[in-house]
Every structure is written in C-alpha cells, then in structure tokens.
C-alpha cells in the first residue's frame, strides 16, 4: 500500500512537471479520448495545467457594452469598463468577468450564446426593457514608449448584436 501511494504521488508530480514544460502538448491533442481523459483529470486536481499568471495577452483588454432600451426608447448604457458594478456586490466578483471576456474573444462560437444569455438576464432584471444591444470590443494598450509618444489605445468592435422583444 505504501509503495502504491508513493508511486501515485510520484506519477502526480511527474504529470505536473511534464505539463508545465509542454511535454504533453502533442499527446494532449492526440485524439478525443486522450484529450477528454486529461480534461477530466485536470478538473479533479489541475495537475494538467500551466501556471503562467499574466503571461499571455496582458495588455489586450476587452470590453462588453450593454445598452438597454425601454418602450420609450430611453437608452441606458452598462460597460464592463466600469467593473460591472451595476449588479455585483463586491469587486472580487467583478474580476471574474476578465476570464469571461477573454473566453468570448477566443471562442467565436460562444459570442452569440453569451450575448443571448446576457440579454436574457438584463431583460429579467429590468422588466420594462424591450431591446438590448450587446457589443464586445477589443482594447489594445500601447507600450510605455508609445504611450509617451501619445499613441492612442486601439479599440476594435469584435462582435455586436441586438435583441428585441416586440410584444413587451
């Protein structure tokens, strides 16, 4: 039993080591069964995970802007640039939308679904709203050098859509 436990612990640490040094990158995408098995192990203990905090894509921020319209066509604007504070109770939960936005930019198939989900929630929160516009933007910050040369922040609309409830 003792030997088995030591062997499992060794295997666990080996898996972590191989993952962080990219030794499993090709194995991971070998076939669906292998990929699913790794994903399953990862969901249990994150042994198949890379811990590169803030390494990729920092400086490339995103914004989700939601505009709601009531029956009088009165517009109210919400933006994640304001920390999504309009519905959250604390700033810590607001940080979770960073991942949400990155996910949405990376996975185009998710953009429509997320927009629908957010629009539904806004219509549930504000019963008088009958139209929601959802826009996902990419914001690229300049380098320090370029910032000193007054280079502007690059803002690009990635995805935009409108939902209307005609009978509300």
């Amino acid at each position: 039993m003792k030997r088995l436990i030591y062997a499992l612990a060794f295997f666990h640490l080996l898996l972590i080591s191989l993952t962080i040094f990219h030794a499993l990158d090709k194995v991971y995408t070998l076939n669906a069964v292998v990929e699913k098995s790794f994903s399953f192990v990862c969901s249990l203990n994150y042994s198949v995970w890379r811990y590169g905090f803030f390494s990729p894509d920092v400086g490339r921020s995103n914004e989700i802007e939601i505009k709601t319209y009531d029956s009088q066509n009165h517009e109210t604007k919400f933006s994640t640039l304001n920390g999504f504070n309009f519905f959250l109770s604390n700033a810590d939960l607001g940080k979770r939308f960073y991942g949400f936005k990155v996910y949405n930019v990376a996975d185009t198939s998710l953009q429509g679904l997320s927009a629908r989900s957010v629009a539904t929630r806004m219509m549930n929160i504000f019963p008088d709203v009958n139209k929601v516009t959802y826009t996902l933007r990419s914001i690229r910050y300049p380098t320090m050098k370029d910032y000193c040369k007054k280079k502007p922040v690059e803002i690009l609309d990635i995805y935009t859509t409108t939902f209307t409830l005609p009978y509300r």
Binding site: L13, S43, N45, Y46, S55, A91, M144
Partner: protein, 310 residues
Amino acid sequence: MAFIKSLREKLHLFFTVPVSPVPLGVFRILIALFVLIQATLWYPDWLAFFGPDAWMQWEISQALVINISIHISKVAKLFSLFGLTDDQSVILFFWIYVVGAVGLLLGIFTRFWAILVWFCHYILMCSMDAYMYGVDIFLQIALFYIMLMPVAKAFSLDARLKRVNTEATWGVTLSLRVLQIHLCLAYLSAGYEKMLSKDWWNGNVLWRSLVQPDFNQFNLTWLAHEPWIPMLLSWFTMVAETGYIVAMWIPRLRVVWLAAMIMLHTGIAIFLGLWMFGLIMILLSLSAFGYDAYKDLSQSRKLFVKKSLV
C-alpha cells in the same frame, strides 16, 4: 555510482523521515477559512453566477464542459426529487458547501467534510468555466490535497477526541513534500513562461496590467514616463517566482524568499485588486513552507541570543 547512491539515500530521507503534522493542520484551517471568506463574497450574487438564469445560462455553461463533468443543474435535478425548485436547490447547495467548510475548519469527521467540500467546489468549477481564474484553480488543488492528506492530525477536534493518530508518519512527510513540490513547480512554470516574453523583460506587461481597466486600482499611467520602475518590478517578479524552487530549500534564504512572495502577492492584491488570488497564494506558501521558515527564524534567534551571551 557513489553519487547516485548518495542521491538515492538523500531522496529517500527527504520523502520518508517523519516531519511534524502541524503544517498540514495549519493548511486545513487556512484553506477552510478561505472557503468561508470566499463563500461570504459569493453569497449576494450566488444565483447571478450559478442559478438557472445566471449571466451564463445553464444550457450554455453545460455545453462548455465535458459530458462526464457534474454541472450544478444535475444537482438541482437531484434536489427536485424532494420538491425543490432550481433556485432553491442552488441556494441549498451553497449552504451544504458552507457547512462542509465549517466541518473542515473544526476538524471533526475531517475526511468526510474534506471530500464534500472538494466535491462541491468541483461542481462549482464545472458550472462556471467561463468565470473561473487562478484563485479557483489553486483552491481546487488545495481542496484535492486536503481530501487525501492526513490534515486532521493537528489542530482538529478529531485529534483532540483521539479519533486520529497524531504521530508524525511517512504519510505526513509525503503529503507535505507533494504540496511543497507542486508549489515550486507552479512558480517555476509561472516565472519561466514570463521569461519567454519580451514584454516582461522591459516591464510593458506590468505597466499594461496596472493601467488596464480590468485591474487598475490607482492611476499609474505616469509610470510610462519612469519605465525603470515597472521593469525592475517585473524582474523582481520573475526572479522571485523562478527562484522559489531553489530558495525554499535553503534554510536562511527561505525566510527572505517567503517574505518576498508575500510582498509580491500583497502587491498583486493592492495594485491589481486581486485580493482573493493574492490571499490564497500567500496561504499556500505559508502552509507549505511557513513552519520551516518559522523554525529557521527561531533557530536564528537562539543562535543570536547564544552569541550575545558569549
């Protein structure tokens, strides 16, 4: 040959010589407290993240995870057998998670609560794939270890009631070593990945992190005119993270390095607003190496007193 033999012996001792179960008891308490703090923060917006009509509805969040994962909608389906609505089920799930964390904190029937809390957190992770970040990943890792490791041997009611053996065993040693090595590897990976990026060397990544609206807490755009500050801070981050795997095993350096890591994560918390992430990383380092650092400090103090007397 002699070198290999000596290395084998050293490795054998490293993984088998019994060590105090105190760090594992501290680990359990710190992580259980962390779960409770995080649950308090979650509570007002629990349904907005996990309810059926959350910001990401169940149909979509379910589609993001592999089929065999357990999504919170499956829990709601189970609770519906007892007549609970989806919203009620999600709220009940929250309280089960909290009760589990309290049980873990007290250390009574520790293994049962540890499995329950880990399982609840696993379900949460499967239900909010798009919203999770480092804090959730490290909490899942910590809870996985707490579930398997002998964490009730110190500072627990189980130990007080003599329900568990409180002796230092090979299991304690192995557990502590796995936790320590995992942290070392995580930091090595974090530091090494950063070193591959040119923007980490010149400080641009740090500056962008500090000014972008997702993280900025203070107006620090002026740092662009003093680029040496973000650059030095970036170097400090890379050295602290990459050097962790070596420094944490050198007795005197360990105390300095642990203090540096606490400074690093406190900085992340203050300047990027990632309080919970900063906190869990500090707690993990304290759990893994805090006891050894404390012993180093006590030893240095004794030595200092002895020298003063002489």
